[in-house]
Amino acid sequence: MEKFTRLCDRLAQGCGYAAGFLMLLGLALILIEIVIRTLFSSTLYITEEYTAYLMVGITFLALSYTLKEKGHIRMVFLHTILKGKARIAVDIYAFTVGLVLCAVITATTALFFWDSVVSQSRSMQISATYLAIPQFFMPLGSFILTLQFAAELGRTIMLLRSDQLEEQKIESGALGR
């Protein structure tokens, strides 16, 4: 179990870096477009379209990393009033709900992706990109998020078994810088 959670954590961390790389790629694309437009009165043609695809990639790849870093927002009302095993029970419940929903999202986005593969859907832009390519981020990111939920769930259950009910720091959520 410990091996599994460690592996998931590492995978999520890698996805965080990958999402960061996509963001920098988007930044570069936009800056190049500005330079080409102002200096050479020309255009890359694909900036709008590919920036949007990159945004899909950033969002979905970062899902697991954000969960690992406790970046997703939730109300911590129960966490502030509950202690010890009760609090762990709430966590187990929440991680299970997250796990189930993400498994469902993984399945449905995989079907959505596969539909685009089968019907060879293309973008109606000049690039005529196969939409299945950017759409692959959706099942991929959702699947890794599902794994991360499983890892968090496993870790919490182990915590319950180990009886080491040390005080966890209450997450105040991402601050939205």
Binding site: G20, T59, R74, V76, F77, T109, G176, R177
Partner: protein, 433 residues
């Protein structure tokens, strides 16, 4: 009326899931799926995939991580020291003295950062220790910072305006420009309050031995220059129509990196932290936005917004009564929810309502931002309170009490904007479309 039963079932489920510590984004998906499965014969999962794709596949959305990135870089740079050093000589002679640095530095930093929490944290990490050192009254210091920090959302660029603009179809550029005057009014309001308090009780802001001459003041200009350049770059390019908000954000990132490099506060590690930090925050927002888009489609399929608008119409409320009711609702929501969740959850229902009542969606965007600012300083969930609590280790309910005057000032401004909507609308209507 069975739509009432449907609405209350979904609302109950929403509260239940949120209250039981399920993540906001996930809750929104679950409530949407339930709405479809219980009350329609439409299969929701394919719709869910479509919405996930359509709400993330957006080049406008790229402004979100980029503006966050810009703020992350500046937060880690020497900008707060420079703002403090640059502003102190100018403000020290006002009644209330350096407390005004809280407000002015927040307003300036707000003009390069998209978020209130970031503004509060960046400004507070330097002003609070300095003010404490000089024995300033801590209620006035913390209260004014909590209030002024919220300017991060109202003075452009603004992450909540981005999300509102994308969800409502209102031009983001216009929203940004519309926030400038109300933001300046709010900052002025906060400053006036500090001055009045200090005139009656000069002990709140002791004079100390600080004396500044005009030479000192002029010497600070190089310290303020980078921020002012950044502001002009970002807002100027949007106002003149030279760049889209996304492009302005990219230019802003470049400027922030440049500024961090020349102030020697940037290296590989800082850069990576900023990248990961912005990826994390934007992903958090995107999950909520996607969930809310799905829920909004679900209630659309159920026909709830149309019926609600019709129902409110039969009550014969005046424009002002409607705004008062909405404000009460937002204050209540704001106790427990963060700003993004507040916008995205209320918008599908509130937007048709206020459009039908004759409000301009652009005006409503600004109103909504101020409601979100209010939620930032109301306990138990108020992000500015959390930030200040992290800086000075003071109980958040106490900080909220200190911020009560700011809360009241915000509602005075809301009343003014409601009575004179042209305060909001004039500037954006003057810009190039």
């Amino acid at each position: 009326m069975d739509l009432f039963i449907i609405s209350f079932t979904l609302l109950g489920l929403l509260i239940l899931l949120l209250g039981s510590s399920i993540w906001v984004g996930i809750t929104l998906f679950l409530v949407g799926i339930t709405g479809f499965m219980m009350f329609t014969s439409t299969q929701p999962l394919t719709i869910l995939s479509n919405i996930l794709w359509n709400s993330t596949n957006s080049s406008t959305m790229m402004a979100l991580p980029l503006f966050i990135f810009m703020g992350e870089i500046l937060f880690r740079s020497k900008i707060s020291e420079n703002l403090f050093k640059g502003l102190s000589p100018w403000l020290n002679s006002l009644p209330g003295r350096l407390i005004h640095v809280n407000i002015a530095a927040s307003a300036l930093f707000a003009a390069v950062s998209g978020s209130s929490a970031a503004t509060t944290a960046t400004v507070g990490k330097i002003t609070l220790p300095e003010l404490q050192k000089r024995n300033y009254d801590s209620s006035l210091c913390l209260g004014s910072l909590a209030g002024a920090g919220t300017l991060g959302f109202l003075i452009p660029p603004s992450l909540v305006m981005l999300v509102y603009g994308i969800m409502s179809g209102v031009s983001i550029g216009k929203l940004f420009i519309a926030g400038i005057i109300p933001g300046a009014m709010l900052a002025t309001g906060f400053s006036l309050y500090v001055m009045i308090r200090s005139l009656f009780n000069p002990g709140l802001a002791p004079a100390g031995d600080l004396r500044y001459t005009w030479r000192d003041r002029l010497r600070t200009i190089p310290q303020l220059l980078p921020v002012i350049t950044l502001i002009l770059m970002v807002l100027g390019s949007i106002y003149t129509g030279w760049a889209t908000p996304t492009e302005a954000a990219a230019v802003g990132v470049l400027g922030a990196i440049f500024f961090a490099l020349i102030s020697r506060s940037m290296d590989g590690k800082v850069f990576m932290e900023a990248v990961l930090g912005s990826v994390k925050t934007s992903c958090m927002i995107m999950l909520i936005v996607a969930g809310a888009s799905f829920l909004s489609v679900a209630v659309g399929y159920l026909g709830i917004p149309a019926s609600l608008t019709q129902f409110i119409g039969t009550l014969g409320l005046s424009k002002y009564e409607l705004i008062i009711i909405l404000s009460v609702m937002y204050v209540i929501m704001g106790f427990m929810l963060d700003g993004f969740s507040m916008i995205v959850m209320s918008l599908p229902l509130a937007l048709p309502l206020i459009t039908a009542a004759g409000f301009d969606p652009l005006w409503f965007g600004i109103y909504l931002v101020i409601m979100i600012e209010v939620s930032q300083i109301t306990p138990p969930v108020g992000f500015n309170l959390f930030v200040i609590n992290g800086l000075v280790d003071e109980n958040i309910f106490k900080i909220a009490l200190y911020a009560l005057p700011s809360f009241i000032i915000m509602f005075i401004i809301v009343a003014l904007l409601t009575l004179y909507p042209q305060i909001v609308l004039t500037l954006p209507n003057m810009m190039l479309r």
